[in-house]
């Protein structure tokens, strides 16, 4: 086992995939015994994705609904198992972990969800929500837990006087802070933020984003920031990966991606985000719908909607290739010139 050097990414996935298949129910199994065919449709939620995150980096993961960004986040956080591929934490592959390493990796990677109301147990008091995990894992002694929880609440901007309250007694922004404090309680080094500000009002969203930036410095954290909001991701991230139907189509440092998007999908996304300060305008429109992940188009998934599609795009899947130092894009257009 090698020790993690500064160059080793804190977290890396290589060619990771997640397939969801419907399991046959009783009647279908019975019919199957008599030779009936079972309609085993498989959703390729995440399809052969590779991504490495360096220590202290913020990587934004952007995509529309159904593109697999949350599934990827959950696999990274260890909530759902991967179907294929390799997951490394500080250079150690997950298949090689012993029990102690597995637990350490589980605790070091925490996740913050979109809707704090459905991710906080409504029947538990805040002090138990935040304090339970560190107590169970023996990180904090039982007599020190009260101070530990108070300290965490202060750090995320909550009044420790409220620790006997239940989640429903808080506003949306405060509830999200409880979710953040709960994640921080087990001293993680890597946070997956899955649409963590999407449910919040604009003025509250700014407060929580500021909190994320403060905590990153205070706790020396690394983020995988999943969002559909390009403005939020641009503000926070060092690097951005754009996903479309289970695949990363473009990945680049934030400023470069926003200044000169390479992939036609990225370009379309950036053009169509309503932005304050543009004034009245006519929206250019990407034709068509997001295809169903049950039945994705062959070749490049984006080709039915792409203004530059060529015959090749419908047949061959473009690989994610380096187009400039640090910039990756999966588009056949890059091969032409």
């Amino acid at each position: 086992m090698t020790t993690a050097s500064a160059e080793t990414p804190i977290l890396e996935v290589r060619r990771i995939s997640k397939r969801f298949a419907r399991t046959p129910d009783f009647a279908e199994r019975l019919a199957g015994m008599f030779g009936a065919k079972f309609d085993a449709r498989v959703v390729h939620a995440v399809d052969d994705v590779s991504l490495a995150v360096k220590h202290g980096e913020v990587v934004g993961l952007v995509g529309e609904s159904g593109c697999g960004k949350s599934t990827l986040g959950r696999m990274v956080a260890g909530i759902i198992p991967k179907s294929d591929g390799e997951l490394y934490f500080e250079g150690a592959e997950s298949a090689m972990w012993n029990a102690a390493q597995a637990q350490a990796a589980q605790l070091a990677v925490q996740i913050i969800f979109q809707d704090p109301m459905s991710s906080l147990n409504p029947r538990k008091r805040v002090r138990d929500i935040i304090g339970e995990a560190p107590l169970v894992h023996g990180m904090v002694a039982r007599d020190a837990i009260a101070d530990y929880v108070s300290d965490l609440m202060l750090k995320v901007g909550l009044d420790p006087g409220y620790k006997r309250r239940y989640p429903h007694q808080f506003s949306g922004g405060q509830r999200q802070r409880i979710g953040i404090a709960r994640a921080l309680a087990v001293k993680p080094r890597f946070l997956v933020c899955d649409e963590a500000v999407a449910a919040l009002d604009v003025s509250i969203q700014a407060q929580v984003l500021n909190l994320f930036m403060d905590l990153k410095d205070a706790f020396n954290l690394t983020y995988l920031f999943i969002s559909h909001d390009l403005g939020v991701v641009r503000h926070l991230s060092d690097r951005v990966a754009i996903m479309y139907l289970g695949r990363i189509v473009e990945m680049a440092p934030t400023t470069e991606l926003y200044a000169t998007p390479n992939h036609p999908y990225t370009r379309a996304l950036l053009e169509e985000v309503p932005q304050v300060g543009t004034g009245k305008r006519i929206y250019s429109v990407v034709k068509g719908e997001i295809p169903s992940p049950l039945n994705p188009p062959p070749g490049c998934h984006f080709h039915p909607r792409c203004p530059h599609a060529m015959p090749k795009c419908a047949i061959e899947q473009p690989a994610l290739k380096q187009v400039a130092p640090g910039r990756f894009s999966a588009c056949h257009l890059n091969d032409q010139n």
Binding site: S203, N210, H235, V276, K280, R281, Y283, V285, E289
Partner: protein, 325 residues
């Protein structure tokens, strides 16, 4: 007269009497909508923007009721109008598009049944002719092969397509006014752009005025003519979209615009409004924004009245920001 007001709301008050007390969801809202105009109604959750829309349509559920003010549509007073009269207006003269089209379309009826019913409620017309109109309506909102799609059920449509169907139904009778309540909030970015594009085009074609209720200032900036910013049941600032967004006069509007990530330098702390919006049961004395406001002083313990800065620019604040005056 192109400038004639289509809808005039004056001092509208919609309250909900609950066991915990009276919730003043809308507390003195005045606004005008002209023919063919797009008016943005912006606010955070609980600011009363949706209830304002429901009040205009007479769609309030008990215990909510209009306790004061007036709503005049084409010169006709709607507050206190009979349910029959409101039913005749709704769908024909004033239509609504909601956030979640799955909630507005009946899941057990085919699309054609629902559209034909909406046509025949307001017009004596044969089912065959109504079906042709339904097909044309779907075509107009950009649904491919409309004749086949008419036979489908709502769950067979994607979210964006369902919203198109809802818009097609709203525009069936070429209403003078459409109230759209967060119609693109549940949709993805590329689909949102499609819907905004269709709405812009259709309203321009048919001269329909639009009240677009949203929490997203960026959407209004891209499509609206005028904007009203709501906070705690009142309009705190209104005016032409360009003016309000480039130089907001109310400290709340300023804070809202400044806290948008793309307006801030990348990686720097976002400017934020401190605190949280008040709950309807704990409204502070005087100006409801006072506890979060950097400019508040003793004068703000009184409720500020709406004042005109210049032209159409109106603000409800004792200390409006200077540069915009």
């Amino acid at each position: 007269m192109p400038d004639e007001a289509l809808l005039t709301v004056r001092d509208l008050r919609t309250h909900f009497e609950t066991r915990q007390g009276v919730v003043k969801a809308v507390d003195g809202v005045s606004l005008d909508v002209r023919r063919g105009e797009i008016l943005g109604l912006v606010g955070e959750s609980g600011s009363g923007k949706s209830i304002t829309g429901f009040s205009i349509l007479g769609l309030l559920d008990a215990p909510g009721r209009i306790v004061g003010g007036s709503i005049r549509f084409k010169g006709e007073e709607l507050v206190g109008a009979s349910p029959e009269r409101m039913r005749a207006l709704r769908g024909r003269e004033i239509a609504m598009v909601f956030q979640d089209p799955m909630m507005t379309l009946n899941p057990v009826l085919r699309i054609d049944t629902q559209i034909i019913e909406a046509i025949q409620v307001h017009e004596r017309i044969s089912t065959r002719a109504a079906r042709a109109r339904a097909s044309a309506a779907l075509q107009r909102v950009g649904i491919p092969s409309p004749d086949e799609r008419l036979q489908a059920y709502p769950h067979q449509f994607s979210g964006g397509m369902r919203q198109r169907v809802a818009i097609a139904i709203a525009l069936l009778h070429r209403p003078a006014l459409v109230i759209a309540d967060e119609p693109t909030t549940a949709l993805d970015v590329t689909i949102q752009a499609q819907i905004i594009f269709e709405m812009q085009k259709l309203c321009a074609e048919s001269g329909t005025a639009l009240i677009w209720i949203t929490h997203d200032l960026a959407v209004i900036d891209g499509m609206g003519d005028r904007v009203c910013v709501m906070y705690a049941g009142r309009i705190v600032e209104s005016g032409a979209v360009r003016d309000v967004i480039s130089s907001p006069a109310h400290p709340y509007a300023r804070g809202l615009i400044d806290s948008i990530p793309s307006r801030n330098e990348r990686g720097k702390r976002l400017s934020q409004i401190p605190g949280a919006p008040p709950t309807p049961f704990s409204l502070p004395q005087g100006c409801p924004f006072r506890p979060r406001c950097g400019r508040a002083d003793a004068a703000c313990l009184e409720v500020p009245q709406e004042t005109t800065l210049r032209g159409e620019r109106r603000v409800r604040c004792f200390h409006p920001l200077e540069e915009s005056v």
